[in-house]
């Protein structure tokens, strides 16, 4: 929907600033009470969810115009959705996240483009991945693994690695470990390799919604061509695209969809995955935005007065994937889980999302460092997550800040516990 379609949402903002804070009944300390990286970092109301709605209202009402400054403020935001979750604790009639997305689409339609994002979109169009790496090399990460070619060998389960896991050499062992873990549980698994493509979720968040739809159409065809009945992805961004964005765009993948944390929980519950080896570690869990509040299933577009909208159609951030990863973690012998202050629907973002990592890397790094501090405050020796984008930026932040904190993907700890790997050098091998 266009920006003007959210006029009532924007007009309805009472400027209460709840969008800047963890819901008040969940605040545990002043230090970690803020929820929005954008306004916390820039300390000006314009950067908050409310501020962006005011700017949107002003433009829709013809009182101001889009310019470079407004565009930069709009894009200095990870689209983490914490503002939306906080707002909805108090309000039923505002879809703040949708306004932020519409603002970006408005920027793109008006040609107010961020150069870094233009290159990302060029890369997507050229090579089907956000990095512009050769599409022919997308499956190189799986070389030598005991896994079917999803195009031709008809596996039951299609493993979708996503752009980051496919091309980031530092995360190669992690994604290979995830596949080994699934194979050790006897999963009939295939990958599409060079025939895998980007989910298109990043394009949507950058405001290139038309381009995103092209990728969604393409992905539907690719998945159907494999004949798989189940799709498992290790990437939270891709999971949110498949579980929320595609249905919102009216696209059906036609498979049972799991994030890998959900699938591991299922395998463990069925007794196919046995996590028996002790992994003695005090860990804390980071909820990736795209696995948590942003992956809530799409429940339809409500037309008319949102105050009359059934609560089941209100996206509150509560229906994200929160329990599955925690259950898997708790089932690993030796693991002790200690929670951070900002978790689940009001978790602090890693900093990498919404095109911030590409366009404003220093802001992304600051956001990650803030989360590292929160993790350290729990006394944990390791931060565990399940998203390659979070993993990448947290590992970079730890290296940059020198923080004494290990960073793992959940599959790495599960791999070790399943007796299929060892922890060495801060990663599972």
């Amino acid at each position: 929907m266009a920006l003007q379609d959210y006029l009532r949402d924007m007009e309805g903002c009472s400027r209460c600033s709840s969008c800047k804070w963890v819901p008040f009944n969940q605040v545990k300390s002043w230090r970690f009470a803020k929820n929005c990286p954008s306004v916390t970092r820039h300390n000006l109301h314009a950067f908050s969810g409310s501020g962006k709605m005011i700017m949107g209202l002003s433009m829709v009402s013809g009182r101001s115009e889009l310019n470079d400054t407004v565009t930069e403020i709009i894009y200095r935001c990870q689209l983490c959705g914490a503002c939306d979750t906080a707002c909805k604790v108090y309000r039923d009639d505002i879809d703040l996240m949708d306004v932020l997305l519409a603002l970006r689409a408005h920027c793109v339609e008006q040609g107010q483009l961020i150069p870094e994002h233009m290159l990302t979109i060029d890369a997507l169009k050229r090579e089907d991945n956000v990095f512009g790496e050769p599409k022919a090399r997308r499956g190189d990460w799986a070389e030598g693994l005991d896994v079917k070619d999803a195009v031709g060998e008809k596996p039951q389960v299609l493993f979708h690695a996503g752009c980051r896991y496919s091309y980031d050499p530092d995360l190669r062992e992690t994604v290979r470990g995830a596949v080994r873990l699934l194979r050790s549980a006897g999963v009939d698994l295939g990958i599409a390799g060079a025939d895998e493509a980007c989910c298109g979720g990043r394009a949507f968040e950058l405001g290139y919604q038309g381009e995103s739809e092209n990728f969604a159409d393409d992905m539907v065809s690719r998945v159907k061509a494999t004949g798989a009945s189940v799709l498992v992805t290790a990437c939270s961004d891709c999971y949110a695209a498949f579980n929320y964005l595609y249905p919102r765009m009216g696209k059906e993948l036609g498979v049972e969809l799991y994030h890998i944390t959900q699938y591991l929980e299922k395998l463990a519950g069925e007794g196919r995955l046995r996590l028996r080896q002790r992994v003695p570690k005090l860990v804390t869990w980071h909820d990736p935005c795209h696995l948590g509040r942003k992956s809530e299933p799409f429940t339809g577009e409500w037309k008319g007065d949102k105050l009359l909208r059934p609560v089941t159609m209100k996206r509150t951030g509560k229906k994200g994937v929160y329990d599955a990863p925690r259950n898997v973690l708790k089932s690993i012998p030796g693991i002790e889980l200690v929670e951070m202050e900002r978790i689940k629907g009001y978790a602090w973002c890693c900093g990498a999302g919404g095109g911030v990592l590409e366009a404003f890397p220093e802001f992304a790094a600051w956001t990650a460092a803030e989360r590292i501090e929160e993790a350290l405050a729990t006394g944990a020796e390791a931060l565990v997550t399940s998203c390659p984008w979070c993993l990448r930026i947290f590992r970079d932040a730890v290296e940059e800040t020198g923080a004494l904190l290990e960073v793992y993907d959940l599959t790495e700890l599960a791999l070790v516990s399943a007796g299929e790997g060892v922890l060495a050098g801060g990663a599972a091998r």
């Binding site: 793109v108 339609e109 008006q110 107010q112 961020i114 150069p115 038309g210 739809e213």
Partner: protein
């Protein structure tokens, strides 16, 4: 020959690679409204720019970009500039909205701009724009400027004091030679426009950008317009589904082949 002073005319259009849903037809306003897609350079204009950059690399000289339109995206133009051009000239005026200007008016405005800027050896345009596909502006511009034009170039070379152009034909190509100044409309066979680096895009902000005005050029697009868009109707999509019924797959296949022949698809 001495260095080439080249001008590339580029048009900003809604991304033609957007999905069908990204092009909303407003029948009353007789406009196509792009949704969720960015403006981009018309792809054949990108090919023209690539041809110019290659000539510059080989023979030296300069490449000036000229764009006429309304609401021109500075980001799109800077990216084009960063690909290897030296100067950007814009005429951004609501009267030059791409939905209002027909080919005649566009060529007239461009011709006035070219006369004002002056001194070009070679003018390159795309063979046609991605939004109208009319393919008339380049040749119309050459006519107005009184210079030779070669259409559908797949290769442009300097030969002596002129140019040698390979022009695409349906089943081959023709070779033309022309004296300079000349205009060439460029086809995609020339090759894709190179991708600029991020650093080049940021540095392009420091390159010269000039802004022209209709008043300054003394041209009125409305009086030059010869076409009137009477109505704009979205394509109707009709789908018919026929199921082939048969007792066996072999019979179904044979029956399907017969049907395809009957419908003259095979």
């Amino acid at each position: 020959m001495s260095e080439l002073n080249m001008l590339v005319c580029v048009k900003q259009v809604p991304d033609p690679e957007g999905p069908p849903s990204a092009f909303e037809v407003d029948r009353e306003a007789r406009r196509v409204i792009p949704k969720g897609i960015p403006p981009v350079l018309s792809p054949f204009d990108e090919n023209a720019l690539e041809a110019a950059i290659r000539l510059k690399e080989e023979h030296g000289g300069s490449v000036t970009l000229l764009s006429v339109g309304s609401g021109l995206s500075r980001a799109v133009m800077l990216k084009a500039l960063a690909s290897g051009a030296d100067r950007l000239v814009l005429l951004d005026d609501p009267a030059c909205d791409r939905e209002k200007l027909d080919a005649q008016a566009t060529a007239a405005v461009l011709a006035a701009a070219v006369r004002s800027l002056g001194g070009f050896d070679l003018i390159l345009t795309g063979r046609q724009a991605a939004d109208t596909n009319a393919g008339q502006v380049g040749l119309g511009l050459a006519e107005m400027l009184g210079i030779p034009a070669v259409p559908f170039a797949r290769k442009v070379e300097v030969k002596g004091a002129g140019i040698r152009v390979e022009s695409v034909l349906p089943d081959g190509y023709a070779v033309y030679e022309a004296e300079l100044p000349a205009l060439v409309t460029v086809s995609h066979e020339v090759g894709d426009l190179r991708y600029p680096s991020l650093m080049a895009i940021k540095q392009a902000k420091s390159l010269p950008v000039e802004e022209l005005t209709l008043t300054g050029l003394g041209v009125d697009p409305a009086s030059e317009t010869r076409l009137e868009l009477v109505s704009l109707v979205p394509p109707s999509r009709e789908r018919r589904c026929r199921l082939v019924e048969a007792d066996s797959p072999e019979e179904a296949g044979a029956r399907l082949a017969e049907l395809l022949r009957e419908e003259k698809i095979l």
